[in-house]
């Protein structure tokens, strides 16, 4: 059975031709400007206040646009960018270790397993240097050396030291910088902020995105907000797996509703499984906690040499340990990219060599680092991460190795956007993790913060002007607003009136387990077909048996969750369709049928060097291909050996 139909190819018409280093300059010059007096008359909605949305709303406000911003949390400072630990990449070459814009571009295209656009990635590398300047000027307290200059460290997939960091809280510090810039604009009156509001639908009128339907999560009121352009910065969809490192509130509803209204969804199957998370401890588990990748700078990953060796770590002598990453990948060792480290962990656990409860864990050992650098130095570098580990597990990583296991962390897929970050709905722009743009099939560590801020501070504020130069776009047809509003109300009524016997969370857990088992670290035709059979059954059961208590016109967290779970079902199905159609392995998408003799991912560039952009169809999704061309980086099989 095929689950989709084929549509016309898709093309990014916005990236200029010519030498790659000139393209962004050319586009900036080509993008039309809006007269300052006219900017005030142009209304822009920004949904989400993480690194991308917060920096975009602040910058658009500063430029003089009339901005309305929404977040579901009680303050814009709480968006999940805040939890990013390790750092942010930038091609500053402050170390003089051979870094350059070109090298960051090269590493990112290669790390993404040749499934990202060269033009976009080059721009990202160019802009990366401005981000560090901007953040420092805002007072972001990056780590410094005794000479007063910025410190850097290495991250997976790179052999230079280009990652800037603020202890283990880089995301927090960068987000607070963006948040403070945003609050400054709120005080200045250029941005109107709505906290505890959740976007439930997109208003499309006359073929353009013209507003959003939101629910006030305190009063339950359904509100309409209209604008000349809408920006979605609503993050990724990793919570489709239920257990992930995302915050509990992260969801797909905003981008999924936009998809239903005509925005194509690109590469939904590209999900990143982060290799260093704290293993699951029981079936009540509500989320997974990441341990920063930076730990792999000094921690050594190992498992016992023999399967079934259940001695405590301290009793296993050196020669009976297998430091498998160092053994298999001598060039990169413990710093191989995330997808490779994750799969390697899964493989040793599948061989019965895993450690901890259920054998689903590997050791990340700091004993050597403590011997070499001293406990104090290790504590200075990683103290807060060690504390966090100790709080959750009750074990002391200074005296016994950490146990880690891969967990869903980031989604490279997202709404399709062109070089201007505009989706297939005119006037709908998508930034940050919510779009698919720059990471290809695998994101390198410390590149999410870079992309979010590049989009928000530097790219979108320029490109959106070109669209708004034709505005204001006039009145919005009342029928189009009412239609979206009615659809939202009907869904809420349906959820509340159902007298079921299962909670939304219980369905979410079941869906998540299904996705982890069948569309997780390793996918096969058989597993995906099984998932595609099971998901519609489970969704049908959800709508028959879900129980949501309380009312529509109050703070109702059970209702919020149920609405999000409903959209996860639909997204899960599209992820499996995408994963099934892409019979190659690439980056975070590993098809067991496509591997080389060493078990490494095997791409099929002849057939799959394209972006899969899915259009919503009433019966089944429609596939539109955007061919990828590599003019600068020669496509090759990745090797980190």
């Amino acid at each position: 059975m095929t689950y989709y139909t084929e549509g016309e190819p898709l093309r990014d018409t916005k990236a200029p031709a010519g030498p790659i280093e000139d393209r962004w300059e050319k586009r900036k010059f080509g993008a039309r400007l809006v007269n300052p007096a006219n900017k005030r008359k142009l209304r822009v909605i920004v949904v989400g206040t993480g690194l991308a949305g917060g920096s975009a709303a602040a910058t658009l406000g500063e430029l003089g646009y009339n901005v309305t911003s929404f977040c579901y949390q009680d303050s814009p400072r709480r968006a999940h960018s805040i939890a990013a630990q390790g750092g942010i990449n930038a091609a500053k070459n402050y170390r003089g270790d051979g870094d350059s814009v070109y090298r960051l571009f090269y590493d990112t295209v290669k790390g993404g397993d040749f499934r990202a656009r060269e033009s976009n990635v080059y721009r990202l590398a160019q802009v990366s240097v401005n981000i560090i300047d901007q953040a420092v000027a805002q007072g972001v307290p990056f780590a410094r050396e005794y000479g007063g200059l910025l410190d850097t460290r290495s991250f997976g997939g790179a052999q230079v030291s280009r990652t800037f960091y603020a202890r283990g809280q880089t995301g927090q510090q960068l987000l607070l910088g963006a948040y403070q810039a945003l609050e400054r604009q709120i005080a200045a009156g250029t941005v109107t902020m709505h906290t505890r509001h959740e976007m439930l639908d997109l208003i499309v009128s006359g073929g353009r995105a013209r507003g959003v339907i939101v629910r006030d999560m305190v009063t339950g009121e359904i509100e309409r907000h209209l604008a000349d352009a809408v920006v979605l910065a609503t993050g990724g969809y990793g919570n489709v797996f239920f257990l992930s490192t995302n915050a509990k509130g992260c969801n797909t509803t905003a981008i999924w509703r936009a998809h239903r209204r005509g925005a194509m969804f690109a590469n939904p199957c590209y999900t990143q499984i982060h290799p260093t998370c704290i293993p699951v401890s029981g079936d009540y588990q509500s989320k997974l906690t990441l341990m920063s990748e930076s730990l792999r700078n000094d921690g050594r990953v190992w498992v016992p040499l023999e399967a079934g060796d259940d001695r405590p770590a301290s009793r296993i002598p050196e020669e009976e340990r297998d430091y498998y990453l160092e053994r298999v990948y001598p060039a990169f060792g413990n710093l191989v990219p995330r997808d490779i480290a994750s799969r390697a962990a899964k493989n040793v656990c599948d061989e019965g060599r895993g450690v901890g409860p259920g054998g689903l864990g590997v050791y990340l050992d700091f004993a050597d680092a403590i011997r070499r650098l001293g406990r104090d130095a290790v504590e200075k570098k990683y103290g807060n991460l060690f504390e966090m580990y100790e709080r959750i597990t009750g074990e002391d990583p200074y005296t016994q190795p950490m146990r880690i296991y891969p967990a869903v962390h980031y989604t490279m897929g997202g709404l399709w956007v062109d070089y201007d970050l505009q989706s297939t709905i005119p006037g709908l722009f998508v930034i940050g993790e919510a779009n698919f743009s720059d990471h290809g099939a695998n994101r390198l560590g410390a590149s999410a913060l870079m992309q979010g801020l590049a989009d928000g501070y530097f790219v979108l504020p320029t490109t959106i002007g070109d669209y708004l130069a034709d505005g204001p776009y006039g009145e919005v047809d009342e029928d189009d607003i009412a239609e979206a509003e009615v659809a939202v109300r009907e869904k809420i009524d349906r959820l509340l009136s159902n007298d079921g016997d299962r909670t939304a969370d219980s369905f979410h857990r079941e869906l998540g387990r299904l996705m982890w088992d069948h569309c997780g670290m390793e996918r096969t035709e058989e597993s995906l077909r099984k998932a595609l059979e099971r998901i519609p059954e489970l969704r049908e059961e959800f709508w028959r048996r879900v129980k949501v208590s309380g009312d529509a016109d109050e703070l109702n967290q059970a209702l919020e969750r149920a609405g999000r779970v409903a959209d996860f079902f639909d997204l899960a199905e599209l992820m499996c369709v995408d994963a099934l159609h892409r019979t190659e392995s690439c980056g975070g998408h590993f098809r067991a049928e496509s591997q080389d003799a060493d078990g490494e991912a095997l791409r099929d560039d002849e057939r799959f060097a394209y972006v899969a952009a899915w259009e919503h169809g009433e019966r089944s999704p429609v596939l539109h291909r955007e061919e990828l061309r590599y003019e600068y980086v020669t496509m090759s099989q990745r090797s980190y050996k």
């Binding site: 000027a137 910025l150 009750g394 969370d505």
Partner: protein
């Protein structure tokens, strides 16, 4: 075998409701559960029984977003030091324990529902001056101004504030001094924050007062419950900067 616990939880329909403590039994709690996971289990049961689940704020569940916060057995975020509610695990409670759970209580933090309070006053304090005015794209090269490592480290320590509000909940005066001082210290210690140092201190302190937070009497409860250990001397610095600005 799991633990059996008795919870006494503050329930309040909305800002107008008087509110009251309600007792629940939770059984077979695993010591590896987080406190919020234990409440999840209770809420799943309440939903199936057709009752309103206990509303509480939470999001990242890894101690950094600052969204969670409840007074557990009379202590903001519970008795474990330097720990947010979401990072508190049940292994720290004894089988058979009776645990009281209440919202942050302070006039500028009105209860929205149950354990959820409105902390938007914090955002307004930041709006008053908790920033450096630097439009995107206008920044000089990051290495143009070196910063002493000691200053950068001290600024970072103050900047780790997560804005949870535990300091206010713990303070007998309902003061937001630690929160406000953390930001004034973070930005004031850095050369980038120096040009606005005076106006920042003045405007933020005045906004803090206008929101109805109480004054600081150096009780130190704030820093004792602070999950990020923001030091009390930030408040001294705030007072110095405020006086300097007022001159």
């Amino acid at each position: 075998m799991g633990m059996n616990l008795t919870l006494k939880v503050w329930r309040q329909k909305g800002p107008e409701d008087k509110g009251r403590m309600v007792t629940y039994r939770v059984e077979d709690v695993s010591p590896d559960m987080s406190f919020l996971e234990m409440l999840d289990v209770l809420n799943e049961r309440l939903i199936l029984e057709g009752d309103d689940p206990v509303a509480f704020d939470h999001d990242c569940r890894e101690g950094i977003c600052g969204m969670c916060g409840m007074v557990i057995n009379g202590v903001a975020h519970g008795e474990q030091v330097a720990t947010t509610t979401c990072q508190l695990h049940m292994r720290h409670f004894a089988d058979g324990a009776v645990i009281t759970v209440e919202p942050w209580r302070a006039a500028p933090f009105p209860v929205v529902k149950d354990l959820v309070v409105d902390r938007s006053a914090f955002d307004r304090i930041i709006q008053a001056g908790g920033f450096v005015s630097v439009p995107a794209g206008s920044a000089p090269d990051a290495h143009s101004v070196p910063v002493k490592k000691a200053d950068a480290d001290a600024a970072f320590d103050a900047a780790t504030c997560i804005g949870c509000g535990a300091c206010v909940a713990a303070c007998p005066n309902g003061s937001a001094s630690l929160f406000t001082a953390a930001k004034i210290t973070h930005l004031g210690l850095l050369p980038q924050g120096a040009p606005e140092r005076d106006s920042r201190a003045r405007d933020m302190v005045e906004q803090m007062d206008a929101e109805g937070f109480g004054g600081c009497t150096n009780t130190g409860e704030c820093t004792a419950v602070c999950p990020k250990g923001i030091p009390l001397d930030t408040i001294a610095r705030m007072n110095r900067d405020y006086l300097r600005a007022a001159r």
